[in-house]
């Protein structure tokens, strides 16, 4: 009804405007501070689409309807003005705004004005999140916030990226705490990017300490969009995208493959596998009989050139004095690069704000998210991408008559895609949030929040048997992919509850002493349950339900766990004349993950700020608009180590015994892991010094931080002697520390009608392992006292062995080493190469100097923006999938190494220049071990997003009763600059689903 009235009203207004008389308005706009004229200022008549822009002299002229009473003057970086028409030319003087500083930002359990913040926090807004056109919110954060690193896990539909704050905080779980509208959330990717108003990253301990024990790895506060007073609109957005891989490796052809295969079998002491005649006539034979002489390009067979993606977003917003509602519906569907792979996300949210009385208000939000991940059942579990790259062309995918060929003895990923069944995962998350605010007295509000979340998961794996027939006799089955058809069902369920009781008090004394206080109580509880069932030997392969499987081949299982956290916390802030700030936070947390005696922990923080620009000695220095120095110290904790780590549990199994001539299964059980009872919190402590400044009337803003953080009592599964027969227990053992800095700058200005802005951020962090109680955690990326976190750990190489004499006179790993293998340096000089004696730290594996860059331009109806992101320095291992031939003994040979490996067929000179070791399986275990031979500098720069938009501003809109119509085209992951070998992407290895480039075109309609 309301909307109808609105439409009628708009229609009437339109009619009126179309026939009404007009009058001319002129004027000049100047800067209030300097008196200079301002070009490019926009002047509009409210309630119409009529507008004009000032010329180079700051003058404007426009015709407005006769009855217009006001014009709106808007210019970036200045306060907006609404002027009443008085019949004479307007003299407008605009004053530079301090809007960005008066902006309110979200902090833990409340808000603060940006200029009052004393911790290290960064906020990004809707344009930065929804504007990135990513399906997943985590992807949209890449390159946005200095100190927040996003690592992508491939480009598969639905893939979620990993977010870390300021290097590494702890050795286990570095997942930041995600708070959505004040309530902890399981994943940031459950949200629809278009529903997000802002994301705030709390980076230092003074801002995170209020979240106590879950905050050590940083906090992301997400605020969703809500209706504002006096707004009524319908917004619809449609977008279509086209996905292509950024790069894919290539592999040698079928003839070359057989030649190289012969070389490797000969090198390994066997004889050539394929005869010269067979190789030479292969392509001829393939032409006449492709079924017996296949030549399959598995990559083009399996991986499509492109895949579609589409999104719909619809939102209704109405705000009145008493009720404000925003309801939105989001849908996105991303198809995969191979068939039968897709990810769908359905979001439905309703955010309501109520005002009952002047003292009592509340909110009631409901959010439903359903994600549907459909994938093929990949029998080998290697992933279709890996299969498309490892399988050599000598195996056939389909026969010439269209029937499926067995591939490599029944391993045919094409068959798996087409007929192998499915692996589908559904996740339904239901979140409710009820809030009541009661204003007890002026300045004191009590808030109660109750928010339950239910997650209903479902995973169905239908693994179908596929029969492959003989190339010569379609009636004869020669291979099957697996013994029988099986179905397994899994139904995880999670219930979590968050309850909060907060009291907020704000008071200003004598108009110079500004004081706020917060005390709160919070209760968190999570219950997990899982039920699964399976059956095998399905007689029919098109009924994927348990009843249709064989009763004797059934299995089932179930388990449950729960954890709880109880917290008391508070905050006090005080400032004198908005000049000198102090703040203290504290939180007292009790976790069910620890034994009663070691359960409670207190986490304090303190911070202070000094707004230097408020001092008289700086007030007259014009270029400096604002300058604040701030410092903080604080602690937070971490208990993310499983549900019952201090208890030693019995794990059950089955032992089979004969009884009465039959097999009987008897329950068996044993203690798997040792337990240390008195473990307690990990404590993270951060000291941060920073500044925020703006210059030149807010056109330039700069803020920076340096910090040092240290995490003590890290809960580690320290290696314990295996001979005690128990897996390693958690112990408070480790200490890591990180030092780093961050800088964020932006420049906003205009040239005539061209408005533009640039932003740049950069961060670096270096995490060291200070203490591991004398032990170390070894692997290709090792944690060793004194080393960096996840530092590469392996052998030092000294090129390739060229002669047998060199081999016999050198230390080697084992007796199969021959010329053409990698020579390792005998670090301890004992004449042997051993894992214990000769592995050394080879440099950090984590990215350094991560940066982001963005720019926005607007000219008349056009707007253009770009986002770039990159890593300034990173040691990256060339994955074995990139460089190793004959993986699994039969695999493909990367084109990359062909002609560049050491070979007995080469001249001495060619071998001296060889980049890759000889072809061998006996020595592959030695050659492809982690060594500096395979480490390269993985720095890169990537253009993440390019968007070009056009806002249609014509009478047409009015005719269609529209408030806005925008069309845009965009591209994600458009270009990449790096030193990686051709076919490799800096963010994934050669066996993972590729990172994808997405071209998009979209339409945004607003009523």
């Amino acid at each position: 009804m309301k909307r109808k009235l609105l439409l009628i009203a708009m229609f009437l207004g339109l009619q009126y405007a179309a026939f009404a008389q007009t009058k001319n308005v002129t004027g000049v706009v100047t800067d209030a501070q300097t008196g200079t004229t301002l070009p490019g200022v926009s002047i509009t008549a409210p309630g119409t689409t009529i507008g004009a822009v000032t010329n180079l002299k700051g003058e404007f002229s426009l015709n407005v309807p006769e009855n217009s009473k006001q014009v709106r003057i808007k210019f970036i970086g200045y306060d907006e003005q609404l002027l009443t028409l008085a019949g004479k030319p307007l003299q407008v003087s605009l004053s530079a705004n301090n809007k960005s500083l008066n902006e309110v930002v979200v902090v833990g359990y409340g808000t603060e004005k940006k200029k009052d913040v004393t911790g290290a926090i960064t906020t990004i807004n809707a344009a930065d999140i929804g504007g990135r056109r990513d399906v997943q919110v985590s992807d949209a954060l890449e390159g946005q916030i200095a100190g927040v690193t996003v690592t992508r896990n491939g480009g598969a539909p639905g893939a979620q990226s990993t977010i870390t704050f300021r290097g590494i905080t702890t050795i286990g779980n570095n997942v930041p705490l995600i708070i959505v509208d004040g309530v902890p959330s399981l994943s940031i990717d459950k949200l629809n990017p278009d529903d997000i108003e802002s994301i705030t990253a709390l980076k230092d301990a003074s801002s995170t300490a209020i979240y106590g024990t879950r905050a050590a790895a940083g906090v992301l506060l997400v605020t969703t969009k809500r209706a504002k007073d006096g707004v009524a609109s319908v917004n619809y957005n449609y977008e279509y995208g086209d996905i292509t891989p950024t790069s894919q490796p290539t592999y040698v052809g079928v003839v070359r493959y057989m030649q190289l295969f012969n070389e490797f079998t000969t090198n390994d002491g066997g004889a050539a596998t394929y005869t010269p005649t067979y190789i030479n006539t292969y392509l001829q034979n393939n032409a006449t009989n492709p079924d017996l002489y296949p030549n399959t390009n598995w990559q083009t067979t399996l991986i499509n050139k492109s895949a579609p993606r589409d999104m719909h977003n619809l939102s209704f917003t109405v705000g009145t004095d008493k009720i404000k509602t925003r309801a939105s519906l989001g849908y996105s569907n991303t198809e995969g690069l191979y068939n039968n792979l897709s990810y769908k996300k359905y979001n439905a949210t309703v955010n309501n704000d109520f005002k009952f009385t002047d003292k009592l208000s509340g909110s009631f939000d409901v959010a439903v998210v359903n994600t549907v991940n459909d994938d093929v059942n990949d029998a080998g579990g290697n992933g279709i991408t890996y299969e498309s790259r490892v399988l050599p062309p000598i195996y056939g995918a389909v026969y010439s008559d269209g029937l499926l060929a067995p591939g490599k003895g029944g391993r045919n990923p094409l068959a798996q895609i087409e007929q192998g069944g499915f692996n589908n995962t559904n996740n339904m998350t239901l979140t409710g949030r009820a809030v009541l605010n009661y204003k007890v007295i002026d300045g004191l509000t009590i808030t109660g929040i109750a928010s339950p979340t239910y997650v209903f998961g479902s995973n169905t794996v239908f693994s179908k048997q596929i029969s492959f027939t003989s190339p010569t006799d379609p009636s004869l089955i020669v291979n099957v992919n697996q013994a029988n058809t099986t179905l397994s069902e899994d139904r995880p369920y999670t219930y979590s509850f968050n309850g909060q009781l907060l009291a907020n008090y704000t008071k200003t004394f004598n108009s110079v002493h500004n004081f706020t206080a917060l005390v709160g109580y919070e209760d968190n509880y999570t219950y997990n349950e899982d039920i699964n069932a399976s059956r095998g030997s399905f007689a029919l392969s098109n009924y994927p339900y348990l009843d249709d499987g064989l009763l004797t081949l059934r299995g089932n299982g179930g388990s449950a766990s729960e954890d709880a956290l109880r917290s008391y916390f508070g905050r006090m802030t005080y400032n004198y004349k908005n000049k000198y700030y102090v703040q203290a936070n504290g939180r007292y947390d009790g976790s069910s993950r620890f034994a009663a005696a070691d359960r409670w922990g207190f986490f304090p923080s303190f911070s202070g700020g000094w707004t230097v620009s408020e001092e008289s000695f700086l007030k007259d220095i014009k270029p400096i608009t604002f300058l604040k120095l701030r410092g903080s110290w604080g602690q937070s904790g971490n208990d993310q180590i499983g549900t019952y780590p201090y208890q030693a549990n019995i794990t059950f199994n089955n032992a089979l015994l004969y009884n009465g001539g039959l097999v009987t299964a008897e329950t068996s059980g044993g203690q798997l892991a040792a337990a240390v009872n008195n473990i307690t919190w990990e404590t993270q402590q951060t000291t941060d010094l920073g500044f925020d400044a703006t210059f030149l009337n807010n056109r330039l803003s700069v803020s920076g931080d340096v910090y040092q953080k240290e995490t003590k009592n890290i809960l580690l599964q320290l290696n314990v002697p295996i001979y005690i027969g128990l897996n390693a227990p958690y112990q408070n053992a480790g200490k890591v520390s990180a030092k780093g800095w961050e800088i964020t700058t932006s420049w906003t200005d205009h040239i005539g009608e061209l408005k533009y802005s640039f932003g740049f951020n950069m961060a670096d962090a270096l995490t060291h392992i200070d203490d591991l109680k004398g032990t170390s955690i070894l692997g290709d990326q090792a944690l060793i006292q004194g080393g960096q976190y996840d530092e590469w750990y392996g052998y030092k190489s000294a090129g390739l062995f060229q002669t047998a004499a060199q081999v016999s006179s050198s230390a080697v790993l084992n007796s199969t080493t021959k010329p053409g293998d990698i020579k390792y340096v005998d670090i301890n000089g004992d004449g042997k190469i051993t894992p214990t004696g000769d592995k050394v730290l080879l440099g950090g594996s984590l990215p350094r100097y991560t940066f982001g860059l963005n720019g926005r331009f607007a000219y008349k109806s056009f707007d253009f923006s770009f986002v770039a992101q990159g890593v300034g320095s990173q040691l990256v291992r060339l994955s074995t999938n990139t460089v190793e031939p004959f993986l699994e003994a039969f695999g493909n040979v990367p084109t990359l190494i062909d002609g560049k490996f050491w070979s007995l067929n080469n001249t001495t000179q060619q071998n001296l220049n060889a980049q890759y070791p000889r072809l061998s399986r006996t020595s592959d275990a030695s050659n492809y071990l982690l060594s500096d031979y395979w480490l390269i500098n993985g720095r890169y720069l990537r253009i993440k997003n390019l968007t070009l938009g056009y806002d249609i501003k014509s009478a047409l809109l009015n005719k269609l009763s529209m408030k806005g119509l925008r069309i845009y085209i965009a591209c994600n992951d458009a270009f990449t600059f790096s030193k990686f070998p051709k076919g490799s992407d800096p963010e994934v290895d050669a066996s993972s689903y590729p990172i994808v480039k997405t071209f998009m075109a979209g339409l945004n309609v607003k009523f």
Partner: protein, 562 residues
């Protein structure tokens, strides 16, 4: 107004429920209150019967077996290093079982209050048997190892060093004696068939033999033979069926680990890799020529000495165990005629009665069996359709005890009729006859120690092929440095195959250790070298102590060469 304020605050409070923090695992018990009664102790002891804790070595470590897909492994390539995964897995599983046995033993006194003495005694005997077995695996592979006979605290565990294997061996013998004395010879048919007196004696005999304690090996195996005399054990008449489902519960088996698909315990990897390509497999895990040529002719002579041997018909006139271990040519195997001849491009499909494309000849398929042979032992006709191997693992069977007794007596040089009888019983069964029917099988008659040593070694190799015993035999006989340095040979490529000399050009010379020499055949092109083997005798007779253990506890020393 005051009242409504009160209600509101209460309402706000009630929004925030309060959950307790004393939460315990919902679906598993914790150790604090476990092991307290018969049911719980039984659950704990059952765990030691599971597959990861009991097993023989991989046949792939030996010269009987070759894996075409990998070409070799850390043992046969000689590439084993101190972070080798196989060595680590054995080490880890052994110590897991030892720790669980120690926990059970430590809990017995407390449980004795509510558990009958006979149950306590049985559980104690089983736990001590299991622990002794694990230590036996450890010392035979690693030499000196950390020795824990009771639960140890984490702090105390860091100061443990390696105990000489001789000390541990003494302990093993004593423990197995205890187990043998306290475990029954048999269980009633309607109760769970658990470890027996015979199992304890057999493990004692095997361990003693491996460690060169021949008198102890003799006595322990003799005790098992005494049980056989009482009817507890006997040789099963059919060598072929002994390794199929029908042979799983026969009384030749002394110790087995059960596999059963219906209970979720089975393997699949070996199935497709062992069955023929015509039947849907890969023919990739295959018997070697070395094994093929170690079977005697029916006159009891090795092939290089016997006039009965025909290289062009190598399956004829041979020890019957050959055709029950390796698939003979031109026989119905899994529904097809098995014929790897390079010109046999078509073969009979017995289910349709038609000739079909032959996937098992290298004339058609590059990767058909490189040696020309496929495993038959343990493989039954169901494998082609079920693709599931649910054969029980045969860990120890009675034939091993007979040959252990004979070998111990030979090494002690106390050769008498009982030695010949022990060997001949095994041979007679192979020929489907009895000990006394010496005309029906080539009975051993020599009493020369050197000759008998050659004979017993050959006998063990052919009798136990594919049962995982060959590797430890090569190690303890110090023959690994001979056998595992010879190349793996296979058929020449079809183009180079001399059809007149199919499949073999002749018999290789076989030395006193039973190791054939293919050098002249490789030189002439009658055999193709398909892979190398390397064995570093300076270090490989012992496996490396896992590197991670030395990192965690530097007091542990490493074996030489690693």
């Amino acid at each position: 107004m005051k009242f409504s304020k009160y209600i509101l605050v209460t309402g706000l409070m009630s929004l925030t429920a309060c959950h307790k923090l004393d939460l315990n695992p919902l679906s598993t018990p914790s150790t604090g209150n476990f092991f307290a009664n018969q049911a719980e102790l039984t659950i704990a002891i059952n765990d030691l019967y599971r597959q990861p804790f009991i097993g023989n070595d991989q046949e792939a470590f030996s010269d009987n077996y070759w894996n075409r897909a990998t070409g070799g492994n850390a043992v046969t390539y000689g590439t084993m290093v101190s972070n080798d995964a196989t060595a680590l897995a054995l080490w880890t599983n052994c110590y897991k079982a030892i720790a669980r046995a120690n926990v059970i033993l430590a809990s017995l006194p407390a449980a004795a209050a509510n558990t009958s003495a006979s149950v306590i005694a049985s559980i104690q005997a089983q736990a001590r048997f299991s622990r002794a077995y694990e230590y036996s695996l450890l010392i035979t592979h690693f030499g000196d190892v950390p020795f824990l006979t009771s639960t140890v605290s984490l702090d105390a565990s860091y100061s443990i060093t390696r105990t000489p294997s001789a000390t541990i061996l003494t302990f093993i013998f004593a423990e197995l004696d205890y187990a043998a004395a306290n475990l029954p010879a048999t269980y009633s048919a309607s109760s769970d068939q658990r470890w027996t007196q015979g199992a304890a004696l057999a493990i004692k005999a095997r361990t003693a033999l491996y460690m060169g304690q021949y008198a102890i090996a003799r006595d322990a195996s003799k005790a098992v033979m005494a049980l056989a005399a009482q009817g507890v054990y006997s040789l099963y008449p059919s060598y072929r069926n002994l390794f199929l489902a029908t042979g799983e519960q026969v009384n030749e088996n002394i110790l087995t680990v059960i596999q059963d698909q219906a209970n979720g315990v089975f393997t699949t990897d070996d199935v497709v890799n062992e069955i023929s390509r015509n039947a849907g497999g890969f023919g990739a895990y295959i018997p070697t020529w070395d094994l093929m040529d170690s079977y005697e002719c029916t006159d009891g002579l090795p092939i290089d000495k016997s006039p009965l041997y025909n290289p062009q018909n190598p399956f004829a006139n041979r020890d019957p165990r050959l055709t029950q271990t390796i698939v003979p040519f031109s026989t119905n195997w899994l529904g097809f005629d098995y014929q790897p001849h390079p010109d046999s491009l078509l073969v009979m499909n017995y289910s349709t009665g038609k000739l079909v494309y032959n996937n098992d000849t290298r004339g058609n398929k590059t990767f058909a069996s490189y040696t020309g042979f496929l495993w038959k032992k343990f493989v039954d006709q169901t494998w082609a359709t079920s693709l599931v191997d649910q054969n029980d693992y045969r860990i120890v069977r009675y034939a091993e005890m007979l040959l252990t007794y004979a070998e111990a007596m030979i090494e002690l040089n106390t050769i008498d009729q009982s030695v010949l009888d022990a060997i001949n019983q095994v041979r007679a069964r192979a020929y489907g006859t009895t000990l006394a029917q010496t005309t029906q099988y080539p009975a051993i008659t020599t009493t020369n120690q050197a000759q008998l040593r050659t004979i017993i070694r050959r006998e063990r190799r052919v009798e136990f092929a594919q049962e995982g015993l060959r590797y430890m035999d090569l190690i303890r006989w110090k023959l690994a440095e001979v056998a595992l340095t010879k190349p793996v040979v296979g058929l020449p490529d079809p183009a180079n195959q001399n059809r007149a000399k199919w499949p073999f050009a002749g018999a290789p010379a076989i030395d006193a250790n039973g190791i054939p020499d293919y050098t002249p055949y490789i030189a002439s092109g009658a055999a193709k070298q398909i892979a190398v083997r390397t064995f570093d005798k300076t270090r490989q007779y012992l496996w490396p102590i896992p590197a991670i253990e030395i990192t965690v506890n530097p007091k542990l020393t490493q074996n030489p060469g690693y």
